[in-house]
Subunit: 155 residues, 2 copies
């Protein structure tokens, strides 16, 4: 195995962790292939999780501690296109390495920057979903809107 | 890039071709990651295609010309588990390299061998679906049962 290949593999540790967690919750899960020149990674979200026809497309981000997280425009467009075709929903999943916790935000909640890219403001990151909340959402126990309204009044 | 890595990459050419064709038809498509020791490939089908909540999990096989195609039991179980969780359907997609054509068979149509594995009999391979037929099926224009009954009386 070449050094470059090993290096890329390390970058996927968080994607693998997210995939494992979603699988444990009962989702059918698939990670994207390594982004090589031929893989045309641009059309794939990092992780796709499906339960009984409900499709979640997730882009994975990491940060050391809770802070504003930036997402390039191309990644947001990829999520939206995959969600549109699949009839599903797009999310940004942020691993906060310092706390070890995941935060998940629907792509609609991202804010556009003046440069045409996107960001998750820190207050939205703090109020966003945990991985387990995705289960309540696909099961229809709680809608996304309901979740965000309740959370905003509680926290 | 190491020789071993290059070799594995070549094996994915048919999976990439199938993914591209399904994407062109309008599906949201994802290929599985390379099967490394950490990838736990066993739980992923080779290709997943989704349209408006309809999920197709596909395992890719190749043969030089139309012949009986064998599928290991573990691959069939993987397809079934993915289909069960996702609420979708499992298929074996066979690339007949000599003719350049694809044949697609629902996993339910496979026959169990005495050794506990599965096979696609040659007559079923000849009568099976083309990639484009998957579109009629997810759009609900034709059910799988309908397709197989009609085809069997016609061919």
């Amino acid at each position: 195995m070449s050094g470059a290949y090993r290096y890329r593999r390390r970058g996927f540790a968080h994607e693998r962790e997210l995939a494992r967690k979603l699988w444990s919750l009962g989702f059918a899960v698939m990670r994207a292939p390594a982004s090589g020149s031929k893989a045309k990674r641009t059309v794939y979200p990092d992780v796709v999780a499906i339960m009984s026809g409900d499709v979640l497309a997730l882009e994975v981000k990491t940060c050391k501690r809770e802070r504003v997280v930036y997402v390039p425009r191309a990644q947001v467009e990829k999520l939206r296109e995959f969600a549109r075709r699949s009839g599903g929903r797009g999310f940004v999943a942020v691993k906060v390495v310092g706390t070890g916790k995941w935060r998940v935000l629907p792509v609609e909640e991202l804010e556009e920057t003046s440069g045409g890219n996107y960001r998750v403001p820190i207050e939205k990151l703090r109020k966003s979903l945990r991985i387990r909340d995705l289960l309540s959402i696909v099961r229809g126990a709680r809608s996304l809107d309901e979740f965000f309204e309740r959370e905003q009044s509680q926290r």
